[in-house]
């Protein structure tokens, strides 16, 4: 009986070691981390915001935008350091591994203007000249005449198509809702449920 001549022993051993280590390093810690209660004051996403979150995932936004503030000076600009409970309502997780654009975990507080957010989604370069973010024009409609109840996006020239009104679709508004809902609850205060 040895590894060099007994395939059953060799492969069973390598299989079982991997299973045991995986349970110890990944599965059990994941079960524990999944049970962390929400940070006090953290609000669950509304159904519209949740729909917006699905669009965010579908478009792969988190390949460029992290949602984690590290406890280091470089990250201070984005908010307070992230806590485990901040992610209680965030599945699939969107912490991200690359930060080509700014972190968005607290964007609802940092840029609360709906108008700015919608223009930026329609064409980021209309508000940030040097931006390299894709424009998500397919979440907007171009209309000759905006109807009643239409959310018209005041896109500035020269990005505004001539003679047309840029109207946000329900998907664009859902995405907006999600972005505005990304707010870090303040730590160390009694939760009132109203957020910041």
């Amino acid at each position: 009986m040895n590894f060099h001549t007994n395939p059953r022993l060799l492969y069973l051993t390598s299989f079982l070691i991997f299973v045991a280590l995986s349970l110890a390093i990944a599965v059990f810690p994941a079960i524990e981390a999944s049970r962390v209660p929400p940070t006090p004051g953290l609000m669950p996403f509304s159904s519209t915001a949740q729909r917006g979150r699905e669009i965010y995932v579908s478009e792969g936004c988190s390949y460029c935008h992290t949602q984690q503030v590290r406890p280091i000076p470089a990250d201070q600009v984005f908010g307070r350091p992230s806590a485990a409970g901040d992610y209680a309502y965030s599945t699939p997780q969107l912490l991200g591994t690359e930060r080509t654009g700014p972190d968005l975990i607290n964007i609802g507080n940092r840029q609360p203007s709906s108008t700015w957010q919608l223009i930026h989604l329609y064409n980021p370069r209309a508000v940030v000249k040097e931006s390299i973010m894709p424009s998500f024009w397919w979440y907007f409609q171009l209309k000759d005449q905006a109807g009643p109840g239409d959310v018209v996006v005041p896109v500035p020239d020269p990005w505004k198509p001539k003679g047309k009104a840029v109207v946000a679709t329900p998907d664009a508004l859902a995405l907006l809702d999600y972005l505005l809902a990304l707010k870090q609850p303040v730590l160390g205060t009694t939760a009132t449920g109203t957020g910041k």
């Binding site: 995986s22 999944s34 988190s62 080509t100 040097e130």
Partner: protein, 480 residues
């Protein structure tokens, strides 16, 4: 690869003649049915390589020209996943499965257990890759979670393929006509077992939520490389390097040491992709500790391969497969050392979340894994089909891929470092974007060279194709 000067030497002529004789003799002995199926694997892998790297090239261009081809299904966020998944599963995995169809039975001095299983596995896998591309381009994914972006029905196809290969390879090893299980088959078969476990853990949904899913993400994305691509590439090299050099591996014991340390150390270090995140600090520290430990299997492998190649400089220069293996082996050592360095907390302050990591990822998956695959293909296929590729075209492929990769990695390493320093200086964020602009352009230049190299490789592969069925039948009839 300096053909121009060496061709004039009589010694080189002798070498060419002896190579031609080896190729002619071995190709007569090989089973044409196995050869055909291996070629189908490699042909499809190459097709996905071209598709996947064209997607990659477009992604790279969008860093400089964000409005270029901005249709929804070609937008950055969708196309990035198309690129990574197509080169991971379509190209790298399929090519290594194809090479394993030869390496596993030959390292056991026996025949492959079942050609039919290998054929079925190929088509299941191809359906998965194609459906994966269509789904990701349509915005249907399993979260932006690197390399588990395919939705779960596609994971079932993934698992089915691994199981078919496991049955095939295990029965092949059991039927071996030698006492010992050669080390290459330790790595190759284990890679299939480990990845089956890994994928199952990653795709079972009901125990991972919020940050818990991030814990699994670190484990999964890291071990996708560590327990699938790395053991397959290292295992194949343990077979092909001695075969092409016609000398035994330098140290068998180092191979065994590498195997067990790879298994224990690599499994534990996934969290080093989330240093400074809210994942428990202890998990992060364990990951950093064993990332340093990774130097044991990495140098056991790299050192073993380099010592096996020692003194064979003349042969390597004249061969068109060995230079690819050499680049692959050297990249394995250097890029892995780079990975260990990146795991430390201090290094994370500067490099985490920057383009530096993307450079590292290409150094490993391309410099290490893809080059070893090419070395294997250029060395093996002529032995199977009796047909050699145009030597100059192989040289063009080698240099385009090597220079392209070098430009790519250097550009992103410098650019990523600058990006990190911009954040540390707490400059306005957009400055880190504008500072990267020239480096992103150079990265695209490197990427374009790599893509052109792949087209040349596809051309070379076509030259090494097996004879058509009719021609073989005629030949067989003539001999009988």
């Amino acid at each position: 690869m300096r053909k121009g000067t060496s061709e004039r030497l009589p010694e080189a002529d002798l070498y060419k003649q002896s190579i031609a004789r080896v190729i002619a003799e071995t190709s007569q002995r090989e089973d044409p049915v196995l050869t055909r199926i291996i070629f189908q694997y490699l042909g499809w892998a190459t097709f996905w390589l071209v598709v996947g790297t064209l997607a990659g090239g477009l992604v790279a261009l969008k860093f400089r020209f964000p409005d270029f081809l901005d249709a929804p299904f070609l937008s950055f966020g969708r196309l990035r996943a198309v690129h990574t998944n197509t080169v991971f599963w379509g190209w790298t995995s399929l090519a290594m499965m194809g090479l394993a169809l030869y390496a596993v039975p030959r390292a056991s001095k026996t025949e492959l257990y079942s050609i039919r299983l290998a054929k079925t596995a190929l088509w299941i896998w191809n359906v998965m890759v194609l459906a994966g591309i269509l789904a990701l381009a349509s915005g249907i994914n399993n979260g932006n979670q690197e390399y588990r972006e395919y939705v779960w029905p596609l994971f079932l196809l993934f698992a089915a393929t691994l199981i078919l290969h496991l049955i095939n390879f295990y029965n092949t090893v059991v039927r071996r006509k030698m006492k010992e299980i050669y080390i290459s088959n330790w790595y190759i078969l284990s890679a299939f077992l480990w990845t089956l476990v890994l994928g199952t853990i990653a795709y079972l949904p009901w125990y991972q939520h919020g940050l818990g899913q991030t814990v699994i993400q670190g484990y999964y994305m890291h071990n996708g490389v560590g327990m699938w691509f790395t053991p397959l590439a290292v295992g194949l090299t343990y077979y092909f390097l001695p075969l092409f050099l016609n000398r035994p591996i330098y140290s068998y014991a180092l191979g065994v040491l590498g195997f067990w340390t790879q298994l224990v150390f690599y499994t534990l270090i996934g969290t080093h992709h989330y240093i400074f995140s809210p994942i428990p600090w202890l998990l992060q520290t364990i990951a950093i500790l064993f990332s340093a430990g990774m130097m044991v299997p990495v140098w056991a492998g790299t050192g073993n391969f380099l010592l096996t190649m020692k003194g064979m400089g003349g042969l390597i220069r004249r061969s068109y497969s060995l230079p690819f293996l050499l680049v692959g082996i050297v990249s394995y050592g250097i890029a892995s050392a780079q990975g260990t360095a990146e795991a430390f907390r201090t290094a994370n302050l500067y490099w985490h979340l920057t383009g530096y990591t993307v450079g590292h990822a290409h150094f490993t998956m391309y410099g290490f894994v893809a080059f070893l695959i090419w070395g294997g293909i250029y060395g093996l296929l002529p032995r199977l089909t009796g047909k050699e590729p145009p030597v100059k075209a192989v040289g063009v492929h080698f240099w385009m891929s090597t220079v392209g990769l070098a430009i790519y990695v250097v550009a992103l390493s410098i650019g990523g470092t600058i990006q990190g320093f911009q954040w540390i200086a707490q400059n306005p964020f957009i400055q880190s974007v504008t500072a990267m602009a020239p480096y992103w352009l150079w990265r695209a230049v490197g990427g374009m060279l790599m893509i052109l190299g792949h087209l040349v490789f596809a051309y070379n592969l076509f030259h090494m194709r097996p004879a058509a069925k009719a021609a073989r039948a005629l030949e067989a009839g003539g001999q009988a």
